[in-house]
């Protein structure tokens, strides 16, 4: 259950609209069921009252939408940012992808988002309603009584390993400021690192072979804001619409992860949107973990204007060959 209520957010947005501070509100719009929430732009209080939602399924990171919407809207755009979204927000500002003056950012605390797949694992298909109270009450068409689920048990992976409840950017903050969390987000990476090369290869072969190259990971990623992706450009020589074989699957994901390395804030959108449940965050976290180990702790988006590790250097950097030596001696 979220600490801030839907009504509080509507009230805030309506006041800012009425006061003329903003002309549009980027928010979550309700869907057919209680969990299929769609990002939407609201312009009036009526629209907000009708369709605006804030619940445990508002996972979408709005930062990337600002690139298009801030440029499109005439006035300022109000955006609600969860703590993890604020990192992407800063990162996009660092890269000059939108005009800060066009945005009014309201930080909202987040207690973690629920993963509908995990809920369905517990109560099966046929959900008729979900009530996000103290416990999540899920009613299905097959049972008379709702199934009561502890929100902790169905948290999305990225929220289980939440790295920070702290808002690193906002014009206004609702609720209390959180803190950076000492998360266990690299544990999974370390587990894979500890496997033998053969096991690692088999693991990733199994995961990446599911890729259908729908590009959802790329299109949802707040770090992927190239005007024209190399994988869409017919003149690049690597453009393709289907993963032709295991090489192309790997190439797409290695290059994508590499291109966002140092800029990826680990918001977890890639894994959330993947229709084939590929744990793409494990690729990004590998880069983050490596760079933290090689070049010192760095969190993309923590501050505006910082230099990412891959566009920086020191004269005493570790040699590519030593990377393995060090790990091998550690092991």
């Amino acid at each position: 259950m979220q600490k801030i209520t839907r009504e509080q957010l509507i009230e805030k947005a309506a006041a800012l609209l009425a006061g003329g501070t903003v002309t549009a509100v980027l928010g979550w719009s309700k869907g057919e069921f209680d969990y299929d929430v769609t990002p939407a732009v609201f312009h009036t209080a009526e629209e907000l009252n009708k369709d605006f939602v804030w619940n445990d399924f508002c996972g979408a990171n709005f930062s990337k939408y600002l690139v298009a919407k801030a440029a499109k809207e005439e006035g300022k755009v109000l955006v609600f940012l969860k703590p993890c979204d604020t990192y992407s927000f800063n990162q996009l500002l660092t890269e000059h992808r939108f005009d800060r003056e066009k945005v009014y950012a309201v930080g909202i605390p987040c207690e973690g988002m629920a993963d509908i797949a995990k809920i369905k694992e517990i109560c099966g298909e046929g959900i008729s309603s979900i009530d996000c109270g103290e416990k999540i009450a899920v009613t299905t068409i097959y049972e008379d009584e709702p199934v009561m689920i502890d929100a902790k048990d169905v948290l999305a992976e990225r929220c289980v390993n939440c790295k920070s409840k702290k808002h690193v950017a906002y014009d206004e903050l609702m609720g209390e400021e959180g803190t950076v969390i000492d998360s266990a987000r690299f544990d999974e990476v370390a587990k894979i690192e500890a496997m033998t090369p053969d096991e690692r290869f088999a693991f990733w072969q199994n995961e990446l072979s599911r890729c259908i190259r729908c590009n959802a990971c790329r299109d949802a990623c707040p770090a992927c804001t190239c005007e024209k992706c190399v994988f869409d450009n017919p003149n690049s020589g690597v453009e393709n619409k289907a993963p032709a074989n295991s090489f192309e699957e790997k190439m797409f994901h290695i290059i994508r992860a590499f291109h966002v390395a140092g800029r990826c804030t680990d918001c977890g959108e890639c894994s959330r949107v993947c229709p084939q449940n590929i744990p793409l965050h494990l690729l990004n976290r590998k880069f983050i973990k490596d760079m933290n180990e090689f070049y010192g702790e760095y969190q993309a988006g923590e501050e505006v204007g910082t230099r990412a590790p891959l566009v920086n250097y020191t004269t005493g950097d570790i040699e590519p060959g030593e990377v393995f030596d060090r790990r091998d001696t550690d092991a």
Partner: protein, 341 residues
């Protein structure tokens, strides 16, 4: 009608697999179901449906069409297809079976697409009546009865037994081969099962979605609807909906230079992609709104106009479940259709 007990379903699979490759829905490591080639040890999934639709078997995401060998100014065209082999797809839901009719009307109308036609000839479909539809299901909207799936053989599953009914010559021949592992039976249990399914269908949250107002000849009514702006506002332009869709059939033909020759292949394409209609001198669909509109207009207006009113959607619910931003055909139908009623 014939039946077997659920405990002995593996012997049925084994019997089918003797003569043809058999694909059944099986759970994979991430928890979702996928059509998997059956062999001893592969377990039939309890999931309602697979993430990817069975259109893959007839219209794969990628298939080689031909090869070119070039030397100097000369080109040689090599047809690289090998002899097609028979295969059986088991556990296809009523909605997905219907999708083959929709694909057939595209690929089997003159001029016939031989790549697709060959696979259709060699493939047999064993369909499966639904037992636990999901909230995302809305096949009834398109006149599909999940209790009466088509296909070469239809199956019904009860708590303990599996029932078989052949619908085509191909199905009858296949069922005849299963005589040793199935037994003759009456239809009572199946009728009871059908009633059960129908009772569930009425309770589904999307039971009231209607195609009323859509169909051929409606282009002018909907094309300039201002609601397209709002609906497409959040669309990321990814291809998820088109790639999980059992009826999306747009494709691209591309060449791959291997260094030793050129492979010409075809792969799925998505009208959601910005490159979809790009030409040397420009693009006629410049924004995501136009691409988004194309997809739904095609399914709800253009396709029925060219195909006797048949809609190019079967209500399988895959796009509802998989869209990263939860925008889908149901929301579009309710918005655009609702406004224009």
């Amino acid at each position: 009608m014939r039946k077997c007990s659920l405990d002995s379903v593996n012997s049925v699979f084994a019997e089918i697999a003797k003569a043809a490759a058999l694909y059944i829905p099986a759970d994979r490591t991430d928890g979702s179901a996928v059509y998997t080639k059956w062999e001893e040890g592969v377990v039939w999934s309890k999931a309602l449906n697979t993430v990817r639709s069975p259109k893959d078997f007839f219209f794969p995401q990628m298939e080689n069409l031909m090869e070119f060998r070039t030397s100097g100014k000369n080109i040689e065209i090599v047809d690289t297809r090998s002899e097609a082999e028979d295969f059986v797809v088991f556990g296809v839901r009523a909605c997905d079976v219907k999708s083959f009719e929709i694909l057939d009307r595209v690929f089997l109308t003159d001029p016939v697409d031989s790549y697709y036609a060959t696979k259709r000839e060699h493939g047999a479909i064993i369909s499966m009546a639904c037992t636990r539809p999901s909230e995302t299901c809305f096949c009834k909207t398109f006149g599909i009865d999940p209790a009466e799936p088509a296909g070469d053989i239809s199956c019904w599953k009860t708590e303990t037994e599996l029932f078989f009914q052949s619908n085509t010559e191909k199905g009858a021949a296949l069922l005849a081969k299963l005589e040793g592992v199935t037994e003759e039976c009456t239809e009572e249990a199946v009728d009871a099962q059908k009633e059960k399914i129908n009772a569930v269908m009425a309770k589904l949250p999307l039971a009231d979605v209607t195609t009323e107002g859509f169909g051929g000849g409606k282009t002018k009514d909907y094309f300039n609807d201002p609601a397209w702006d709002e609906l497409s506002e959040a669309c990321l332009g990814c291809g998820t909906c088109t790639f999980v869709c059992p009826t999306c059939q747009c494709y691209d033909i591309k060449d791959f230079n291997t260094g030793k020759g050129v492979i010409r292949y075809r792969c799925w394409d998505s009208c959601m992609y910005s490159e979809f209609t790009r030409m040397a001198h420009g693009n006629n669909r410049l924004t995501q709104k136009e691409r988004f509109r194309q997809r739904f207009m095609h399914k709800l207006v253009y396709y029925p106009e060219n195909n006797d009113g048949l809609f190019s959607c079967v209500g399988c619910g895959r796009c509802l479940a998989k869209c990263p931003i939860s925008m889908n055909i149901v929301k579009v139908m309710k918005k655009i259709g609702g406004e224009n009623k």
